[in-house]
């Protein structure tokens, strides 16, 4: 069914329900932003007794927040990189060849993100301790990359499918080896898909808490830091400020990725 003009007006009740749900979905985040400025330590009393920006200064001083933030950034960047490489390789293999077990690859790639996080988490944790690998940045990255491959894979595969293969053949016909063809022809055509996939992987990794709890050992990513603060009522506004960072670290990359794939999404939806 393509787009068509609404035939009748929706009832007031329906519209009210829609607005209510939208408010329900969006208001909670505004609360976080509001309580980053409250003067009160426990930070939930409404209305807030006063507003201040002092907490930003306090947060700035906190070495543990900086450590957690920098770890999260490093992990997210490495995860995005690993996911980009693995996802592109898998997409290229699946797109070009008819081989036995083609659907299996798609299934395998989507499995880590489809299974509940605790399963992935505990499975990797027992494997890590079994192999005697010490917990470090790399164990966190391994955990994240496993379920981030799928976002890159999907994006790149979709882009491959939209590009005419004759261009690759034309390039090879004109004397370019597959490596040169990749550099001059394929890479430019999947560039935005790579960027979008990489940013989605970054966002997924930055926000991740469940699998990370299992694969991080003693280290604290920013979500883990917030998680540990959840039941501590002291200096809540500082936690709020850390939360703001996490919101930014997930929201902005996803927004950018959405913008990049916008044309295709709209076209796809319009064609329904």
């Amino acid at each position: 069914m393509a787009a068509r003009a609404p035939t009748a007006r929706a009832s007031f009740g329906l519209k009210a329900a829609t607005v209510a749900v939208l408010l329900f979905l969006h208001l909670p985040l505004t609360v976080i932003i509001l309580f980053a400025f409250t003067t009160e330590d426990a930070a939930f009393r409404f209305p807030p007794p006063g507003l201040t920006v002092n907490w930003f200064g306090v947060a700035w001083q906190r070495a543990d927040i900086w450590a957690a933030l920098s770890l999260s950034l490093r992990v997210a960047a490495l995860t995005a990189l690993a996911a980009l490489v693995l996802g592109t390789l898998a997409a290229a293999a699946v797109h070009r060849s008819r081989f036995f077990g083609r659907e299996t690859v798609s299934f395998l790639v989507i499995l880590p993100i489809a299974l509940p996080g605790i399963i992935t988490g505990i499975a990797l944790r027992s494997a890590i301790s079994l192999l005697g690998i010490p917990f470090s940045v790399w164990t966190i990255v391994i955990g994240h990359a496993t379920f981030c491959v799928v976002v890159v894979y999907n994006n790149v595969l979709a882009r491959f499918r939209r590009t005419a293969y004759s261009q690759v053949e034309a390039s090879m016909d004109l004397g370019a080896s597959p490596f040169q063809t990749f550099r001059y022809i394929v890479l430019p055509s999947i560039a935005t898909a790579l960027l979008a996939g990489g940013m989605l992987a970054f966002a997924l990794s930055f926000d991740e808490i469940i699998v990370t709890t299992f694969t991080a050992g003693q280290q604290e990513t920013l979500p883990i830091w917030i998680f540990n603060q959840l039941t501590k009522p002291r200096q809540r506004p500082v936690t709020n400020i850390a939360a703001l960072f996490v919101i930014a670290g997930t929201f902005i990359p996803i927004l950018l990725a959405h913008r990049m794939t916008q044309g295709t999404v709209e076209a796809g939806r319009a064609g329904r």
């Binding site: 005419a164 004759s166 053949e169 034309a170 090879m172 004109l174 004397g175 370019a176 430019p188």
Partner: protein
């Protein structure tokens, strides 16, 4: 020039002075159960304009891809200028292709597209520019170097694709139905231009098409393919005047296929033959017939006026039907359409009957 029956797949004996540019030796390509190319043997000479003609699914594009290196034969060998190329990738073969969808690189300008092959070979920028401009002149698109493919019309894109291929001075150029997407007038114009370019540049053109008129117009020689096999190879005149099989007779131009009882009634023998519609003359019933002519009486079942000529369908008394084409030299549409239901006598030279293999 040998006339008469030619076996499908074999060429009439001729002088083989020039070297072979492309040689297929018993090449087959199967996709699972389907034989896309079935035991094809072919010799294409250096410098000739050679067409592969056939309907969809006849295997002609597959043959092209085998020459270019995008596909491997399941059996048989392919030689390019005497060298076997089975393990040689497309980027190492001295062959270039003009693709059916042109396959221009959308993120590069026309100039960059054309010079791509040179850029890969590390030809310096100044020389690339000079040769690029030469090519644009050759395909009659001067000054378009900075445009992008998206800004060009179909015919212009087709010429850029041609220039991009020719700039590398390949010894063989493959063209995969390059004019299919163009309208009739443009197509006819491009046919003339392509032929002129080929003569100017002097390299071997291998041209794939399903349009028999196109193949007849442009080729030095052509091969008619059907279901992966070669039905006939020869010059356009050969193939048109002396079709080897019923398929060739029916596919290349319009033809009448006469067999069985009708054949016996007309020629005295039940052997199958074809006769071209334009070779048959329409006379009044009872017209005299000289020696060496065939004749048949019948009734005009239908008439179609085609401007320059008219097509008649005549039901024969002896059974069966014949199609006749006549030029409208003196008659008008009124005259010819009045011929419906008239009784006529058809007369033609016995020599124009071409025997064919019954399996065609």
């Amino acid at each position: 020039m040998a006339s008469g029956v030619t076996r499908p797949g074999a060429e009439p004996a001729r002088e083989r002075a020039s070297t072979s540019a492309v040689r297929f030796s018993h090449v087959s390509r199967a996709f699972g159960d389907v034989q896309a190319v079935d035991d094809v043997s072919l010799d294409i000479d250096d410098g000739e304009f050679f067409s592969l003609l056939g309907p969809s699914g006849s295997g002609k594009t597959t043959c092209l891809r085998l020459i270019a290196g995008f596909d491997h034969p399941t059996s048989g060998t392919i030689e390019l200028h005497g060298v076997e190329v089975s393990g040689v990738p497309p980027y190492e073969r001295d062959v270039n292709t003009v693709f059916q969808d042109y396959a221009l690189f959308p993120h590069m300008t026309v100039g960059e597209n054309i010079a791509y092959g040179l850029m890969i070979k590390r030809v310096p920028g100044a020389e690339r520019e000079v040769r690029g401009r030469e090519m644009l002149e050759l395909v009659r698109l001067p000054g378009m170097a900075d445009r992008r493919p998206a800004q060009l019309s179909g015919g212009q894109r087709q010429r850029v694709a041609l220039a991009r291929a020719l700039i590398n001075r390949p010894r063989v150029l493959l063209l995969d139905e390059p004019l299919g997407a163009l309208d009739l007038k443009l197509r006819q114009q491009m046919q003339v231009e392509l032929k002129a370019i080929q003569r100017a540049v002097g390299i071997t053109f291998i041209y794939v098409t399903h349009d028999q008129e196109e193949a007849l117009t442009m080729s030095d020689r052509l091969a008619v393919m059907n279901s992966g096999r070669i039905e006939q190879v020869g010059t356009p005149a050969d193939v048109y005047e002396h079709p080897a099989t019923g398929f060739v007779a029916g596919f290349v131009g319009v033809s009448n296929l006469v067999s069985g009882e009708t054949a016996r009634a007309l020629t005295g023998l039940p052997a199958t033959f074809t006769i071209r519609p334009e070779k048959i003359l329409i006379r009044e019933p009872g017209a005299s017939v000289t020696d060496g002519m065939c004749w048949a009486d019948g009734r005009v079942r239908d008439v179609v006026y085609l401007g320059a000529h008219t097509r008649y369908w005549v039901e024969l008394d002896a059974g069966g039907e014949l199609v006749i084409t006549q030029q409208n030299v003196e008659s008008t549409s009124m005259d010819v359409l009045a011929a419906r239901d008239r009784r006529v006598r058809l007369v033609w030279h016995r020599l124009h009957n071409r025997p064919v293999e019954t399996t065609g």
